[in-house]
Symmetry: D3
Subunit: 242 residues, 6 copies
């Protein structure tokens, strides 16, 4: 189902049949000592493969560069602006519509991209209203995560290289995890961080926002599978309403 | 040497030691019946791996979306604008500089990106003059290609899904080539095509711009290795002059 | 403390003394039958007056036009784009810095502006790093609101013309509330609404996202005063660190 | 007739009946020792109220930030760029059209905004040609002003904090004028000022461009009432031609 | 003194000596039956030659495309946007500064360009503050024109293909004037034209805004020479203050 | 056939009859000691006159400012950005279409403009698809030039102030050539120049990229006449297909 491995002659009918394209979107970003810089890319790509299988959709080549303002000063992070991200993803969406796709799923593995993706979706809503656009960042996992987690969350919104994200990796891409280097990095996040620009080096030196040592494959599986159910349902509902 | 598989703790010193980052840039684009849509991405990525090895450089995650104006109406092509491409790649370059890189190589597998890449390089020349930026599209292969090729070129500049590019694929990514479907597609290209916007559907229905059946792994190897030599030399010279 | 009522001769020293400027930002947007279109403007302005008093800050003339994409098709809503909003607010921030201000508080009464304000704050962080920029949307009220509210929230993030916002109005601007028209409007919000562009007319005809009839001045006072404490503390801490 | 005090349920029919919306546009700008920074906002708002009454139009919340390049270095001035101003006002105009308005009056109290407003009107002429857009800066007052004024004008175009503008304030917002501080500030304006960028601090320290001590409420009333007549006539003519 | 006829070897010292560059800016625009479309270009170029002589300045190749919104629907008019005009002229100004020029004179023959030129001058004031930038549109001619003219002006600001502009042509470029076709075209201009976008085809079919039959070479000479004096004085003063 | 010398009354029918407009585009750029800065403008303009004659087309006023990034630091060069160039030329093209033209020929005398012109042509292809747009830079001369030239080319693409371009000038504008100053300037161009931004001052001090002393009027005539034939044929074919 990898779109880029299709050839131009046969792909036309498949597009008409599948109608849905999944774009894995991540980032290159510091994820502590135990996870690779490409963690968000790996998660998005693996998740996309699973979602594609369950919904008979195409997976596009991953988009591996994201907006990592908060962590841009950590070694290895590559930051792109919201503005550039928005333009490029909107171009991709519009082109997919021209190709015959009617459902465009931006499967996001990096929270910092959320603002850009929502803006892209709204742009496409105006430009090509017949294209149904979704932006997913582990949807439907709030309650199950609360049940599964052992340590409390360092922040109400951010999840980064912690118990939860590390568990995702253990389930989806454990060959890239080195649990011997996992640490408990939960920092004190000042209240101001929610109301003023706050580079994360002001609050953590490891970029680990929680207790990564508590991560397990099982936790990852439980949450990810729930999210996959939610996403599958939404995509299939969209497909059946075309 | 895959940058995104490094972790943030160890990568800092490696950046200081390597100094050079290679970004494979391709496109999703119709390449006839025998080659996949992601041909340019596959070529750029494989070439980047080889160049990285010879020059001790990092390979960044591939950038898989390119400007494919001419072929955008062919099934499977995904087109993005020069403008969006330029902004995003310039952001990546600037961020690499902030991370300590001093050489940024855009290894391009798709001719349609050439204009954008040159503009990016000039932008970065102003913004971060200490970053040496290269844009490569099979450099140094003009003469060797003329020697190696059996069929004459369909066009003085364009090379697409033909004897040459198919040979590249046979050398670098033959698992994705289906030579049983290769055709001789050399079209008559009207002289106007060089002087007025001309979507390729006006001159070819296959997107094969030459005789792909003449492709061999050996031809590919001969040209690609020459190009690798040229690129290696340039990158190593740049490194030694830092 | 209204900045625009000062004269140019005397204002110079006052800026040096106060150092902080509060910009009330709202929107013109449908708020059901019992609340005026300018609800968010009224709330932001009244709140700004109170915060200014407690922190010895200037209140700037309100910025009354916001991004109301979701409700833009409801009668009376006036929508402006994030892009335009960002540029204009960034200009204001930069000009305030030139005038000698060192703290710029965007006091936001409309959730739809949140994305733009965060982007503005980051822009100013680059352009005029010595200016401390805050964006507030009822900060510190999550827990107290959960305690105070009688009806459960229609949505985890959105609060609109409901028990809570109507209570705010009853505390801060009750002369503009007509409780005889208040309704219980809590709609069923489809799960898709969080993942795809969803104009609110698809889920509500009243734009009331909760049970407005439960609103009381006391509820409003309890939550607003808590938020004022949090904001005052942050602003005073920022002032003392100049 | 204040638009933002209407509620969404009732406003729909009123828009259909009124058809015209007036946006008061001013600036925060130094106006000497006797007038407040918000003079242009106060004038535009009061004038808008009067025009609305005579033409049965809605008054929108004021837009209080203008392009004050010439005076931006005076204490208290807040400057925004033409570019930002244009985008935002064009968004407002387009949204008003979507809401059913067919006449959009930008009632301008600050000359520095004139260029932006004219550009906005032309943009809207293309985007929403059925919307009639007016930009007014005291129209129809040239002759009557020449008759009324005692001191000669400091400049053929600029009118700032002088006999005339102070008279406007005495008529429309005298509670904010302190005539005991009024001065005769008429500077020598170098001929170059009309042909090269000339910040006003190069020619005046008070920002008073004339003899403010000669201002009277009667002068203000005479000119303002004339202008109101002219504007009313134009708006009513436009309404009757819908 | 034509800059483009210099060669690169000798021009360097001349730039250092002259310091001033004059850019004639006009438009291609309908000018009635008796004047050519390029009237504004011809006037700007001839005027530039005279000014260059009197001030020892270089004349740059003319910029022949202007903003002709009002007349864009007349046969032969070529319209460009303010936005494009501003960017391009600002680029030219910045490049002139890099080349060593310290005075940049935009000699404008078309009123519609005035807004763009002023914006360009302000941009350059920020970007290259050491470059003195002037924008001239027949400066210093108000009084002398009032004395010289026989017919009253059709409009307080616009002067187009009328007694005055035709006189300019008779003085500066009479080989392109056909007085046998000159007409008295003074239209009734509705008062709304100053306050709402008004394409000129709504008020004139000839584009002649006055009585062109009254034009004489003498009138042209009188006004033009006065303007040349004013401009020369300003430029020479600027040169002596470098 | 000079468009700007037409008057508005008569031009309408002529546009309908001719249908084609030629815009000469050049640059102000260092061309060594023997050629003027405006060489590209002179060549484009003279060539345009000849092409217009053979194809019954209008010649527009020349556009004399180009993108001269490589030579921008040489005395006398004036550089404008691709971005500004693209916007302005696209505006001109769109306006020509509104005027009734159906063929727009950008006759380019400066290679550095080629990228911008191609982008303009593609933009217009979207905006006004019925306008046929051509960009010509000495088309059809590759083979004849190889035959005619005595010295080998300094670079496979660049041709600048050398045997060839000087020959063009001797044929088209010899009154501006000073052959006594012509030099043999062929520099060693480093291989990197094709792959990284390389200002020409790094490889030549004269800006002469070849042996200008070998230039003759005959060589120029031979090549230019061939190019004129090619262009005429293309334009006439386009005309006959309208």
């Amino acid at each position: 189902m990898k779109f880029e491995l299709e050839n131009s002659v046969e792909v036309k009918d498949k597009i008409r049949s599948f109608r849905a394209a999944i774009l894995p979107i991540g980032a290159v970003e510091a994820h502590g000592p135990h996870l690779p810089l490409g963690t968000d890319n790996l998660l998005a790509t693996r998740l996309a493969d699973k979602l594609a299988e369950r919904t008979e959709s195409f997976v596009l080549p991953p988009f591996s560069y994201g907006q990592v303002w908060s962590l841009r000063n950590f070694p290895g992070s590559i930051n792109v602006s919201n503005e550039a991200l928005i333009r490029l993803l909107a171009d991709i969406g519009e082109s997919l519509y021209q190709q015959g796709f009617r459902i465009f799923i931006m499967l996001n593995g990096h929270l910092g991209n959320a603002v850009a993706l929502k803006e892209v979706a709204r742009m496409l809503y105006e430009r090509v209203p017949e294209l149904k656009v979704f932006y997913f960042f582990y949807p439907g996992t709030k309650e199950i995560t609360a049940q599964v987690r052992e340590a409390s969350a360092a922040h109400s919104t951010y999840m980064h290289a912690d118990e939860i994200e590390t568990s995702y990796m253990l389930y989806l891409a454990d060959e890239y995890v080195d649990m011997t280097k996992a640490i408990d990095g939960a920092p004190q996040i000042p209240i101001e961080a929610d109301f003023t620009p706050t580079p994360w080096e002001e609050m953590t030196s490891s970029a680990v926002l929680g207790n990564a040592t508590l991560a397990t494959r099982e936790k990852g599986e439980t949450i990810i599978e729930r999210s996959l159910e939610v996403m599958s349902e939404i995509v299939l509902r969209a497909k059946s309403s075309l």
